[in-house]
């Protein structure tokens, strides 16, 4: 029997270096007095182990399934519905919204360029019928958007996409596994936004577009946080304009340098595991789109990642579009933006992003 215990002890000892080696991620640092005292060392060790353990995805699924079995329909602020994952957003801050509205109005007055505002509702508002009954959601998005629009008082033109999206809520408007609009949802947004920007007659019709579906199933950022196994993956679709020949040059200016793509859809990125980057190559601090044979107009957009859904359509109506992501923009890069060189300026955010200091940042930038 003593031999058994010695053997057990030796096996146990052999397991330790195995797990320690497993835990050696790139960012793993040896323990220090400070890291033990503030508990960051063991927290990092646990994280590394969690990432490195065999079958970690299945084990993670197990934990989630147990929560679901317990009746949980919400995890990490994400609702798990039969049709997909829907992010819950917090109620907007009235003070912040008011400051942002003021910032946009001041900006519009100063730059003297036609200014537009579009606020996009999130899936939790449009698809609220799919949420669990009595779910505690911020379901006042429509009212908030209308209140903001009413304060623009003719100085800023608004594009209200809420009614259209709500009427078409049965369609594939939002990704099932990502907190963003699909290209189909993006097209409907474009029909409302484009009508305000360039007029209804110039809009690209759906029958002028050739639709291509990427074969790889796509799991978005919500799935990374709540890997609910029963949710169907998303399909990435590309809407290519076929009516007139167009050439596109997409340039990204970011902290990593400059990248260019000669297409709106660099599909090779899907193979590299960067699914949403197949649209314009993703979003950088500054993204410019130059389209040959397009009407000679230019548009400056302060926006978020929702722009990836409707910009591929809008690109056909403008020779130059510049998309600025104020979250990523650094002071060095901000010198590249000259608003007076554009014909129009658009603020386009989801309501979730708008409830931040973004418009205030834009005001400071253009000061």
């Amino acid at each position: 029997m003593t031999g058994f215990f010695k053997l057990l002890a030796c096996v146990m000892l052999l397991l330790v270096p195995y797990f320690l080696i497993l835990a050696q991620g790139d960012s793993f640092e040896p323990p220090s007095r400070e890291s033990i005292e503030d508990r960051t060392f063991f927290s990092r060790l646990d994280d590394s182990l969690a990432e490195a353990l065999p079958f970690q995805t299945r084990l993670r699924q197990l934990g989630l399934r147990l929560g679901l079995l317990g009746g949980q329909r919400e995890q990490n602020d994400i609702f798990i519905s039969d049709n997909g994952l829907i992010k819950n957003i917090d109620a907007t801050s009235e003070v912040r919204i008011s400051q942002n509205v003021g910032a946009i109005l001041r900006l519009a007055e100063r730059i003297q360029i036609p200014t537009y505002l579009m606020l996009l509702p999130t899936a939790s508002a449009i698809l609220q019928e799919q949420l669990p009954p009595y779910a505690n959601i911020y379901n006042n998005q429509r009212q908030t958007i209308e209140d903001i629009y009413s304060q623009m008082s003719g100085q800023v033109t608004v594009a209200d996409v809420y009614p259209l999206l709500y009427n078409l809520r049965g369609e594939y408007l939002y990704y099932r596994t990502e907190n963003n609009l699909t290209p189909q949802g993006g097209y409907y947004v474009y029909t409302v936004l484009g009508a305000k920007l360039v007029g209804r007659r110039e809009l690209v019709e759906l029958d002028q577009l050739d639709i291509q579906y990427l074969p790889e199933p796509y799991y978005g950022d919500l799935y990374q946080k709540s890997p609910y196994q029963n949710v169907r993956p998303d399909t990435l679709s590309l809407f290519r304009y076929q009516a007139y020949p167009r050439e596109y040059l997409v340039t990204h200016y970011g902290n990593g340098g400059i990248k260019t793509y000669h297409t709106l859809y660099p599909t090779h990125l899907a193979g590299l595991g960067q699914g949403p980057d197949v649209y314009l190559g993703g979003i950088s601090a500054i993204t410019t789109i130059r389209t040959t044979n397009a009407p000679p107009r230019s548009l400056l957009i302060f926006g978020d990642k929702t722009a990836l859904a409707y910009l591929p359509f809008l690109a056909n109506n403008y020779q130059d579009i510049t998309l600025v992501d104020l979250f990523q923009l650094t002071p060095t890069l901000s010198n590249r933006i000259q608003p007076d060189q554009y014909h129009q300026v658009l603020f386009a955010y989801s309501l979730e992003t708008f409830d931040s200091d973004i418009p205030l940042r834009a005001e400071r930038l253009l000061d």
Partner: protein, 443 residues
């Protein structure tokens, strides 16, 4: 490092087991003390000096008291020194937690109360002289006990250190199973119920009578699963290392009276207080007033196990008042009521007591109790509580089911029915539980 973490299960625990079984038998207590100190160092290095000085001073007191030549005044002086010192440490630690809740000193209640218990029993000559710093250190600092005990006498602990049989494979598997079950209790019902409690507790304008009843039920279940989970881990790990630690909970929510509840909830803590205050006469008949006094004092101190605040004491005093009433005012009345109604009565009293425990201040505690009755004008129910119930009904059902002894009865039956298969069944259960714990920790 936390007791319920991947680094503990996959790195620290294998090292502990290896160190223990590779050490020569006479050095095993030292090996266990060594890993316990390392654990403490990893878990809360800032508190190591306080812990070391406290335990060391208790040991010095014990050494002085254990001398044959030690006079009665000297022995009494050592006793009072140790008691006052430990109470001051406990008071300081309790006050610190009130100011900075994140800075609770790990295991302070366990090693201070263990120190007092040991010094008092040596003073009363109920325990022979304590001569080994290793054994005393291990008694105070055995790492799985640091979170929620259980508390036991030095004599009980010491008798298992080398006199007890060496743990066999079945005991080890059984111990690991118990430890992993404890972890599952903490991670599955404990964690999710605790999240649910935070949501329910946050209701203010959204509160309803139903939400307040749910809040106290969830708090009662959360308290049970968290405390008993840590105790199960301690008992299980004790079993792996050949130490037989007592249980702290005996399915308290199926008690047939409030007196019965006291004998099932935090049993070793109330046992410690009885030993401390009433020594060898704890079972002797007492005058009614003294008896009532004893119950109230122990109830109040039991509340302090949760934390040093007035609502915690109110919780204990409230329950103790019912226990006194049962004993003095209607001693035989409960016997005549069917068991189901006795259990319902006890559960009602216990749930109301948890409304007192939920408050941050006496006023808030009383407000919660008033909310339960609907006297504060709350609506019976609203959409918020219906949503929470519709999404958590299974969790509540599971929480209530596993708080009863039905599973325990099934396992006991299985053990009797297939004793030969127990090693294989336990090994399989260990594997499944380890996967479950890992999944819950990762997810």
């Amino acid at each position: 490092m936390e007791l319920v973490s991947l680094s503990f299960f996959y790195i620290f625990l294998p090292v502990c087991i290896s160190v223990y079984f590779l050490a020569p038998r006479r050095l095993r207590p030292a090996a266990l003390l060594f890993v316990s100190l390392i654990y403490y160092l990893f878990a809360q290095p800032k508190s190591v000096p306080l812990m070391a000085i406290t335990v060391l001073l208790d040991f010095v007191s014990l050494r002085i008291m254990s001398r044959e030549k030690a006079s009665a005044p000297l022995r009494r002086g050592c006793l009072w020194f140790s008691v006052v010192k430990n109470l001051l440490v406990l008071f300081w630690a309790g006050a610190s937690v009130q100011i900075r809740p994140a800075e609770a000193v790990l295991g302070v209640a366990v090693y201070c109360l263990s120190g007092i218990d040991c010094v008092a029993s040596v003073y009363r000559r109920e325990t022979p002289a304590v001569t080994s710093p290793v054994r005393f250190g291990l008694y105070c600092l055995f790492f799985p006990r640091l979170y929620q005990g259980p508390l036991l006498t030095y004599g009980e602990f010491d008798s298992h250190l080398d006199a007890g049989p060496r743990p066999g494979p079945l005991q080890i598997l059984d111990g690991l199973c118990r430890m992993l079950l404890g972890a599952v209790k903490i991670l599955l019902p404990g964690r999710y119920l605790s999240l649910l409690y935070v949501t329910l507790r946050a209701y203010s304008a959204d509160a309803s009578i139903l939400s307040r009843w749910c809040m106290v039920l969830v708090l009662a279940l959360t308290t049970f699963y968290r405390l008993s989970g840590y105790c199960d881990m301690a008992v299980g790990l004790g079993g792996v290392f050949g130490l037989r630690l007592p249980q702290n909970f005996y399915y308290p929510y199926q008690s047939r009276s409030v007196q019965d509840f006291f004998q099932r909830f935090l049993v070793t803590v109330s046992g410690f207080y009885r030993r401390l205050f009433y020594g060898g006469q704890q079972d002797a008949p007492m005058p009614p007033a003294a008896d009532a006094n004893q119950i109230i004092v122990i109830g109040m101190l039991l509340g302090l196990w949760f934390g040093m605040s007035a609502p915690h004491m109110m919780w204990g005093i409230f329950l103790a008042a019912f226990a006194v009433m049962e004993r003095r005012l209607y001693p035989n009345a409960l016997e005549r009521i069917p068991t189901l109604f006795r259990r319902m009565y006890t559960l009602l009293v216990v749930l109301v007591s948890f409304a007192l425990l939920a408050g941050d201040s006496p006023t808030q505690s009383l407000r919660f109790v008033a909310d339960l009755t609907g006297l504060t004008g709350l609506v019976p129910w609203n959409n918020q509580i219906l949503y929470l119930l519709s999404t958590n009904w299974l969790l509540l059902l599971i929480g209530c089911f596993f708080a009863t002894n039905i599973c325990s009865l099934l396992i006991t039956t299985l053990r009797r029915a297939v004793p030969k298969w127990m090693p294989a069944l336990l090994a399989a259960a260990d594997g499944v539980l380890l996967l479950l714990v890992t999944g819950l920790l990762i997810g």
